[in-house]
């Protein structure tokens, strides 16, 4: 599908009205960050690639995107919220909505921004900020959605899934992108915190998480306006989780009775 085919179907006001399609890039986030830094980016532009040779997740986690089997795209924002704000909930909620509403997939969110189906990751998000030449702040909202994969190997075998594996249908990345951009625009006007609470179903349910190298049990009891997770430990102590890098929640623990 070419850019003009996508644009002819896209019903958004701003998001994705400028599309930069790459056959193969290192990572769409790197392209977006470079465009923001050099002042070449416009608000709402989208970088999309068939393949990424250096797809990235948070920290050292790599993201398998060498194949053309998923949607690998980065949205550029030149107007954004003062951080910290629950910005990462935004793409996660939009992906969640497309999966649940259009494909009836029982997706749920895991704090702060993973999209899971039956405890397996179907989509991931990497948001980066970088300054613009005029002293403002730009945001690269990277989104990876597994679509056409029929299986995963190695470490991913038990932890990843794809839309194809869930519903047996092949949804082309460009088609998913159109729905996703429309869902993103719809969520611009909605309450992200409320959306996250509903789509994560995490509040008041105990979970297991790896924090500073040790596994702990904790129960989320609230969410701050920035999107930080307030949890109660087993010993009754309270803490606020800020960093998605320092806390890793076990997806298998989320639906335990």
């Amino acid at each position: 599908m070419e850019a003009r085919d996508i644009l002819s179907h896209l019903r958004t006001q701003t998001l994705g009205r400028t599309l930069r399609l790459h056959d193969e890039v290192d990572s769409t986030n790197l392209r977006a960050v470079a465009a923001i830094r050099t002042g070449c980016a416009v608000h709402g532009e989208v970088h999309m690639a068939r393949r990424q040779t250096a797809g990235r997740g948070t920290g050292e986690r790599s993201w398998d995107s060498a194949s053309p089997d998923g949607l690998w795209a980065t949205l550029v924002l030149l107007e954004g919220p003062p951080l910290p704000a629950p910005l990462p909930f935004w793409p996660a909620l939009a992906i969640h909505d497309v999966l649940t509403r259009e494909f009836a997939v029982p997706a749920r969110l895991k704090w702060p921004n993973d999209v899971l189906v039956h405890a397996r990751k179907i989509a991931g998000i990497l948001v980066e900020t970088t300054p613009t030449p005029d002293g403002g702040q730009g945001y690269a909202v990277g989104m990876g959605v597994n679509l056409l994969q029929t299986a995963f190997e190695g470490d991913l075998a038990g932890t990843a899934t794809s839309l194809r594996m869930e519903i047996g249908l092949d949804v082309p990345p460009a088609a998913f992108l159109i729905s996703l951009l429309e869902a993103l625009e719809a969520w611009e006007e909605r309450d992200l915190l409320d959306g996250f609470v509903k789509a994560s179903r995490m509040l008041l349910r105990p979970l297991r998480a790896e924090r500073d190298g040790t596994w702990i049990t904790a129960t989320p009891i609230g969410i701050t306006k920035e999107g930080f997770l307030e949890v109660e430990r087993e010993d009754g102590s309270l803490e606020t989780w800020v960093s998605g890098g320092a806390v890793r929640i076990d997806p298998e623990s989320l639906d335990q009775p």
Binding site: G80, L83, P84, N113, V127, G136, Q137, E188
Partner: protein, 153 residues
């Protein structure tokens, strides 16, 4: 109308967001009013469309870190503009953004602070020389916590 009817009516009002109900049983007259019906319709706003501080276009966020610096003798401490996890390099194993002795300018990236998995590049916003790096890679930092000492030029 008895108490039970009234209770049912109140439940119905709650369920349907009604603030006013008028019922006349003779000639049958019903008048219902929904909450917010008199409110002017506000145009939709993006969740981030809040005024940026100090009239700065695109302001807010990490760009304001200079306000969080404090002077000590001929050096200043560069304080964290936000809470999160402090990273000295763009990716694990990569060279740090800055080392002690490095010259930096306004736009030099000093570090990344991650919160909610958002990677925020933090710029120096001043010219000078890095005298100390006060926080270790991967440590949690608080708002206003000193991160670097810099000797301004």
């Amino acid at each position: 109308m008895d108490l039970e009817d009234l209770q049912k009516l109140i439940e119905l009002m709650n369920e349907n967001d009604l603030v006013e109900v008028e019922i006349e049983e003779g000639e049958k007259k019903v008048r219902l009013k929904k909450a917010g019906a008199d409110q002017p319709v506000m145009p939709p706003q993006a969740f981030w469309a809040q005024p940026s501080p100090a009239g700065q276009p695109g302001g807010g966020g990490p760009a304001e870190s200079v306000a969080a610096s404090s002077v000590e003798g001929d050096s200043v401490t560069f304080n964290s503009p936000m809470v999160g996890t402090f990273y000295t390099s763009p990716s694990p194993g990569a060279e740090p953004f800055v080392k002690v002795g490095d010259r930096v300018s306004q736009t030099t990236v000093l570090c990344i602070i991650e919160a909610m998995k958002v990677m925020n590049e933090i710029q120096a916003e001043m010219e000078g020389e890095i005298l100390e790096v006060l926080v270790g890679n991967g440590e949690a930092v608080e708002y206003g916590q000193p991160l670097f000492t810099i000797k301004p030029r």
